[in-house]
Symmetry: C2
Subunit: 172 residues, 2 copies
DNA sequence: AAAAATAGTTAATAATGTTTACTAATTTGT
DNA sequence: ACAAATTAGTAAACATTATTAACTATTTTT
């Protein structure tokens, strides 16, 4: 019998909520033939300052695929696939970097900029609606909490995995 | 240019954190040939009271596949696939319901119970470590926040989708 | 100058999940 | 009571999303 614990409730709720957000996002963005994942790439290229990635590190130059892979925590090959869709739709473009010719900088096209701009008020309204009913202090604490968790996960993930070292192989 | 907003930061952080948790979970549970998703099923069958699903509704009888589909927000067919792995590994068993012979109740086997029990202290330690540094009141507020968001998403998802109605078809 | 590392891509493949169609059992409406 | 609708589970075919491994080109390190 597993005990009630507010900490575990929080972790499981974060999971649940994120799933739900992704589902709804996929449904909404399907109208323009995109997935939540592809939409997140657009938000990166729009330099959305609220993305955890931009809080972790400062970026002056346009992003490249490997940085997106890093931020979304997926393989570079996967980013290539996601990007191809956005390129085909004419929402982004690749610009060769003259200083390091291995690199290709990604930019929103005019069409991409406009799509992000046009949908921004509604995205914002949804987010405001969702997070309504809590005061500024509470929201700040909540964000600190999420960021603290994240820091532990990325900086000390070996430590966390080692907690589970005892997980013994079970016979199939 | 998108403005800084604490609300959007929160939503994007939840996304990011959940991804990271899933990745680490997949890596950890790979040792026993399971995915995070399959592990979640084990937690359901162990009646983990911290699962959002058990907070939403009360369950006296053992769960069935369609309830798991509901809780994990995936199709029934997908649950069949996930369950088959757990059956093969001998971690769960199906029991026919005598009152309604369409239903198959799912139960942990002795082996399944033991796996959950043995790993519980470490799971708990990880969660405690992650959520450390915040007091009880703060944690309670987070949980209320997460549950409030979730409620809006599930009860008023049509309203949320309608926010995006203006999303116009873009030509490929 | 050689070796190692980085960036991106391609191809093959794994996993995850969906839709559709089906069977069986139960519930509902008349 | 009985036809129609609903619910539960599964199977098959497929879509998608992601991964790994191998490769090219370029840059950095030693």
């Amino acid at each position: 019998m597993i005990k009630k614990s507010i900490e575990e409730s929080i972790v499981l709720s974060i999971f649940d909520l994120s799933n739900q957000l992704k589902k709804i996002g996929d449904e909404v963005y399907q109208k323009v033939g995109l997935t939540t994942q592809q939409w997140l790439i657009l938000l990166h290229l729009a330099n959305n300052p609220n993305l955890p990635f931009f809080k972790r590190e400062n970026h002056k130059k346009d992003l490249m695929a490997s940085e997106l892979a890093d931020s979304l925590n997926v393989s570079r090959a996967n980013i290539t696939n996601l990007i191809n869709v956005l390129l085909e739709k004419g929402l982004i473009k690749q610009v060769e970097d003259n200083e390091d010719r291995r690199k290709k900088r990604l930019k929103l096209t005019k069409k991409g900029v406009e799509l992000v701009k046009d949908t921004q008020p509604n995205r914002f309204a949804v987010i405001k609606y969702l997070t309504d009913g809590f005061n500024e202090d509470e929201k700040k604490t909540f964000l600190r909490f999420l960021e603290a968790c994240m820091n532990k996960l990325v900086n000390e993930d070996e430590k966390i995995k080692s907690f589970h070292e005892l997980l013994v192989e079970i016979e199939a």
